[in-house]
């Protein structure tokens, strides 16, 4: 574990109910956001070592695999099917 000290350990923290309510409300907000942005979710299965390589490259750029893949696809589409 890293030697990073806790932030304001003397302060009161939220309850379990609050934590679950946070998750529920946040999920609703992001679902509305995705719908507004016209985002669609896709599911892709990748064989190893392809996934491991993607994971390593994403980590090098401090990105998640989904964000990294989304950017690759975005660049491919922009290159091969540029907006007219």
């Amino acid at each position: 574990m890293k030697k990073i000290t806790a932030h304001e350990p003397q302060e009161e923290l939220l309850s379990v109910e609050d934590a679950f309510a946070d998750a529920r409300n946040s999920d609703m907000r992001w679902q509305a956001f995705d719908a507004e942005q016209g985002r669609k979710r896709i599911f892709i299965e990748l064989p190893e070592p392809l996934y491991q390589t993607l994971e390593r490259l994403a980590k090098q750029q401090q990105q998640s695999v989904p964000t990294f893949v989304e950017r690759i696809i975005h660049n491919l589409v922009t290159t091969f099917a540029p907006a007219k």
């Binding site: 932030h7 302060e11 009161e12 679950f20």
Partner: protein, 179 residues
């Protein structure tokens, strides 16, 4: 990608410190594209020994640091005073709550298109709710990750234990039962 299409949040120092402590920055990166912080938080990261970690995220452009205008700083001072006077805090010195107040002010910048603020302290959350600012704490982020299949319930328990969010056994047991 336009800024408005990014999943952008403002974060107070606490949730990011918790993510560093529990090695769960990856979860934040799975759920959000961009994390905005006010520059007043940088001193707090230094104080907690997390300068290297936050700088790494800033270099990767995952975290973006914003300075407030003079008008925004005036509003932040008012908010910090409101937080200090909350019954939920033992720390009655308004300046100690200034970074989270600045984070709340950044929530109101339309150019950033921010959807929610990562905030754990009850007093600050109370003021945020009064101002209709959408809030989520670090535990909520982990629960959301669990519900999306990114983390197991056990991983949540381990993360919360590592970042010392569970100082009370009853709370800990309740968490385990609830997941």
């Amino acid at each position: 990608m336009p800024l408005s299409a990014l999943r952008t949040v403002v974060s107070n120092t606490g949730p990011l410190i918790s993510a560093f402590q529990s090695n769960r920055v990856d979860i934040l990166l799975q759920l959000y594209d961009l994390i905005v912080i006010p520059d007043s938080e940088l001193a707090e990261f230094k104080k907690h020994g997390a300068t290297k970690e936050i700088n790494k995220l800033i270099e990767a452009e995952t975290v973006v640091v914003h300075a407030l205008t003079d008008t925004e700083k005036t509003i932040a001072k008012e908010i910090s005073e409101a937080i200090a006077s909350s019954r939920h805090t033992k720390d009655k010195i308004a300046m100690h709550h200034y970074p989270e107040a600045e984070a709340m002010v950044l929530m109101n910048r339309p150019s950033l298109s921010v959807q929610e603020i990562l905030l754990d302290e009850l007093a600050a959350r109370d003021i945020a709710k009064q101002r209709r600012i959408p809030v989520i704490g670090f535990a909520g982020v982990l629960i959301r990750a669990c519900q999306r299949g990114l983390l197991s319930a056990e991983a949540i328990r381990d993360s919360l234990t590592l970042c010392q969010k569970l100082r009370n056994t009853l709370f800990y047991q309740f968490y385990c039962r609830s997941l």
